[in-house]
Point group: C2
Chain length 318, copies 2
């Protein structure tokens, strides 16, 4: 298929949306968008490479779902509302089957998050996808990493470690018991916390999404804020399925070190506790207090007896 036919059939005609802010969508030298007055634009870019960020021969739907979640999750961490994205794909070949499954999945996310495709690029090369996503926030309300204060409570959304558990199980996928594990879904189609992020604009002092692992990402937040963190090991939210599959010890390691959860880690002043409780009920999403921001500049994870848990390295890209 010719490049322009691929774009028409699977992208520009399918995963764009009629939105007032999109003046010119895909097809010209640039897309043209209108950012509303009194809003700021948030932007982030993420690359997914075969064999690095997803397994070889991964299903196109898994790739689309994880790429989309990773990018939306960056918007969520800023409190931004999705605005649109561009997508650059390189692939050794573009088959109809691959394109259809990939764009079907992307279409679901485009509709669900009202996040239209604005433009893109197709090339021949090793399988690699770069999404550049944009969101908007009312001027001055973006939630930064750098704003946590000593004494702030530290929260995480959902459960930690499930995606790392799911990834480990992918290698044993032939096993019928494994096939039914809910952890697989948590790896293959993570749910970015887009609504939570926007609701946190007036509540959180700082936020980051958990992509490299809880300890590593909390470490980034602490470093940016110039403080440290005290985390209660027993407070870390673990799914029943993760503990049942791997046992408590391994489940905790995955919760602390495992990446790909795309949950949010955020900080808030202690008097926000009841607002956060209400938000949790409203969104039907567990929000767990796991510790506090502290003066010392490291992330310390201890059990209730005060013994340190030493597994605090996150995912290292290199």
């Amino acid at each position: 298929m010719h490049e322009f036919e691929i774009i028409r059939r699977f992208f520009s005609g399918k995963i764009t949306l009629q939105k007032d802010h999109v003046v010119i969508g895909p097809g010209d030298d640039c897309a043209v968008v209108r950012v509303p007055n009194n809003f700021e634009l948030c932007l982030s870019t993420d690359t997914f490479i075969e064999g690095v960020h997803f397994p070889f021969q991964a299903k196109p739907a898994l790739i689309a779902s994880r790429l989309s979640a990773a990018n939306l999750s960056d918007l969520a961490a800023m409190g931004a509302e999705p605005f649109g994205f561009t997508l650059a794909i390189s692939s050794p070949e573009f088959t109809e089957h691959w394109l259809e499954e990939f764009s079907d999945q992307l279409e679901d996310d485009v509709e669900k998050y009202q996040n239209p495709l604005l433009g893109g690029n197709l090339s021949r090369g090793p399988l690699s996808l770069t999404m550049n996503i944009m969101g908007i926030v009312p001027t001055g309300t973006a939630i930064l990493r750098s704003n946590a204060k000593v004494g702030d409570d530290i929260y995480v959304s959902g459960n930690l470690g499930d995606a790392a558990g799911g990834l480990a199980l992918m290698e044993q996928i032939a096993d019928q018991a494994v096939k039914n594990s809910s952890l697989l879904e948590r790896y293959s189609s993570p749910v970015p916390r887009v609504d939570l992020g926007q609701a946190l604009r007036k509540i959180a002092t700082a936020a980051i999404d958990i992509s490299d692992g809880f300890a590593a990402d909390l470490g980034h937040l602490c470093e940016a804020s110039g403080f440290g963190a005290q985390i209660n090991l027993e407070a870390l939210p673990l799914s029943t399925e993760l503990v049942r599959t791997f046992g408590l010890e391994v489940a905790r390691v995955k919760a602390i070190r495992g990446g790909d959860d795309y949950e949010l880690c955020f900080t808030a002043e202690p008097d926000q506790a009841s607002s956060i409780q209400q938000l949790s009920e409203c969104l039907k999403l567990k929000l767990t207090k796991v510790g506090k921001i502290s003066h010392d500049k490291s992330v310390s994870i201890k059990d209730k007896l005060g013994s340190p848990f030493d597994e605090i390295e996150g995912y290292q890209h290199f």
Copy 2:
């Protein structure tokens, strides 16, 4: 080197700029920018892959320069002023030498076009770079491909075919005579027509940048506008160096089919001729009338005797 050290040393500390519109630069989950009231945002994305868009073992400066030009050229074609960019790089390894030469070259372009780095992504993988660039235009003034009208004059900036000539010469680089050819520079560090694009906002009816080749890109413009074009073969601007190196016939084929020039092709009503002449003098940039928009829906290139020139295929990505 660790990812964050690379970012600090070669990117976030080096190729960002202090600009009022950049609220948050690299380092958080998203960059945050402020688009001025009464302006629209133009955005484009381009991927460069080793062995596809630049030769294996290409110098980092060549890669940076061509990547930057390709992206800035898309802004130029819309009449947009550079606003900033994100950059995703994947590479099998990141050496200090590579990073230094690459970021030095990028820094030059960042300064020259006042186009700051806003964020990015580094991954291990096959050498591939995706730049996502943004520009701004006063609301409603972006120059589209789709707006050409029958009777409009067709212009091109600069000379055509030099970059294709330069690429052909790269394979004979050991030859001393070749080493001094100005065509090499036209391939390795093309000049995006950023000032011209902005000046054309009130003059041009339509514009496109020449990246796939003159005939192919003019074809895109004609298709988007719903018309065709009559081009005078003898009018195509050729450099003395291109004709001297390859002879007139091959030079014309390169001018018509060769990609990578990053000149602008634009249309304007005939009564704009004197404004265009003035603009050419002001920018010290040749602007040549090469034909007219016509009713029939194809691009026809004929010599003065009316014989058609059949070489009108552009660069096919696949």
